[in-house]
């Protein structure tokens, strides 16, 4: 089968690959673009571990075809730290012990990032709603909710 060219901006860097038609964005990111930060938990859009941001919107990369992302801006957790400085969400997850096995963490953080871009000062209910598509087996969710609220607080302090 003929390969399909895909050109996209991945975490600020222009990238291009020839891929098989029908390849998911998740598999393209992991196997072709070498970004293994999005995780393949269920490959059916249920667990949220593969969540990435495409042109500002939160997407399940396991249900998104890579070829539909031609020209798109794709953000993953691999691009969050700038010059070795952790993103406030990464810092909050670390400080709040909001990860245990870590498999859900990239999806949780991207869901939180998409939320904070829309709602800089979210309520607890906003946070719960935002991560309701992400499954966590280890933490019982509470540390994750608290970490996201804490990151939002530190963002608004920095902005003030």
């Amino acid at each position: 089968m003929a390969k399909v060219p895909v050109q996209l901006t991945l975490n600020g860097t222009e990238r291009a690959e020839f891929i098989d038609g029908g390849l998911t964005l998740l598999n393209a990111l992991r196997d072709r673009f070498g970004d293994t930060s999005p995780k393949g938990g269920c490959h059916q859009g249920t667990c949220g571990a593969c969540s990435v941001i495409v042109d500002g919107d939160l997407k399940l990369s396991c249900l998104t075809l890579a070829e539909t992302c031609n020209g798109a801006h794709v953000e993953t957790t691999a691009g969050l730290a700038a010059d070795g400085i952790q993103h406030p969400l990464q810092r909050a997850f670390l400080d709040g012990f909001a990860a245990q096995c870590g498999f859900c963490t990239p999806g949780m953080i991207m869901a939180a990032k998409a939320l904070l871009a829309r709602v800089p000062n979210p309520s607890r209910d906003d946070v719960v709603e935002a991560i309701s598509g992400n499954i966590c087996r280890c933490t019982g969710y509470e540390p994750i909710i608290q970490a996201i609220l804490s990151a939002a607080r530190s963002n608004s302090q920095n902005a003030a």
């Binding site: 269920c42 059916q44 012990f97 245990q100 709603e129 019982g140 509470e142 909710i145």
Partner: protein, 335 residues
């Protein structure tokens, strides 16, 4: 038909580790030429924090900063023998092995330092920050870095140690069948308040209060994380999760994430978790295993709370609305 409130209590004691044919774990510790220390294990860190806690145990025992310890885990082809990370045994079994290996390595380290300083090894102590000094005379000192260099380049010694922790196989007594399959026991007590809708059988967990007795919490934040997540998992086991709801029949079992019922972030009960520390005599720095027991007491507590609320005893898990409604129907029929 009404919402009925109920309160349930359950207490457990939970064994650390298991004992089928004996329960061994081994560890090797050695220093690099620059005084960092390597702990080699076959044990797996699957997110519970084993590597962090083993680094703490090694550092505390040798008397160096935790950052100076590297933990190399999970190569069962080449590493020292470990039964594995299960049965809540990691911190206790592997921790004891690491502590023993680190004690031997510390002894060699102090012998080398003593030779370099021309003093007796018994007069030396560590400051935990990378220096070894004569007790009562901190100015007479040598760094761990220089000690390691001297061991490697001057004295031809390996600053290393072996740790072998074995709980021997326990045979049952012929007369009574009694045996000692475990070592120390962790304890927990949970109080759960529920609201049961006796029309729909739905259970709403209103509050969960846990007390866990963990020996010593070697890393308090990670212990709390384990307990908070485990408490949620216990509630989930009590009310939601199963692959075979009509076991042994396979019908209606979840086949994937879509069909497997698990509470999400919107279903969290108000939860309080208290840690009690009562160091175990046989644990590394007093630690017991708390891996699995943190998800146990919530289950009987929920069952008891439902009984308190609506007077029916459900003795299989998960306690679904269907089971509660069938039991209520049987209760009315018997009345």
């Amino acid at each position: 038909m009404a919402l009925k409130r109920g309160r349930g209590v359950a207490a457990i004691n939970y064994p650390t580790g298991m004992n089928l044919g004996g329960d061994p774990s081994q560890a090797l510790v050695h220093s690099t030429p620059t005084g960092a220390f390597m702990v080699t294990l076959s044990s797996v860190d699957l997110g519970q924090g084993l590597r962090q806690v083993m680094a703490q145990i090694c550092a505390e025992t040798i008397g160096i900063p935790t950052e100076q310890v590297t933990i190399d885990t999970a190569d069962t082809d080449t590493g020292p023998h470990c039964m594995g990370t299960f049965a809540s045994r990691g911190t206790h079994r592997i921790g004891n092995a690491v502590a023993q290996a680190a004690r031997e390595a510390r002894q060699v380290m102090l012998e080398v330092a003593a030779e370099a300083l021309e003093v007796d090894a018994g007069d030396l102590d560590t400051d935990g920050k990378g220096m070894i000094h004569v007790k009562g005379a901190p100015q007479k000192s040598i760094s761990v870095f220089d000690t390691a260099l001297a061991a490697h380049f001057k004295y031809g010694r390996s600053i290393s140690g072996r740790g072998m922790f074995l709980v021997p196989r326990s045979f049952p007594e012929t007369e009574t069948g009694a045996m000692k399959p475990a070592t120390c026991y962790a304890h927990a007590c949970t109080v759960v308040d529920v609201e049961v809708d006796d029309e729909t059988g739905e259970v709403d967990v209103v509050s969960v209060k846990n007390v866990f007795e963990v020996g010593r919490a070697l890393n308090p934040s990670m212990v709390e994380q384990q307990l908070v997540g485990g408490s949620w998992m216990g509630i989930s086991h009590a009310l939601y999760e199963t692959t075979e709801p009509y076991y042994p029949a396979r019908e209606h079992g979840g086949r994937d994430f879509n069909e497997y019922l698990m509470p999400g972030p919107g279903n969290l009960a108000e939860t309080e978790t208290i840690v009690l520390e009562r160091p175990a005599a046989d644990g590394p720095y007093g630690a017991k295993g708390v891996g699995e027991m943190c998800a146990n007491p919530q289950i009987p507590a929920v069952a008891n709370a439902i009984f308190d609320a609506v007077g029916v005893r459900i003795d299989s898990l998960p306690i679904t609305p269907e089971k509660i409604l069938r039991a209520l129907k049987a209760q009315r029929a018997a009345a």
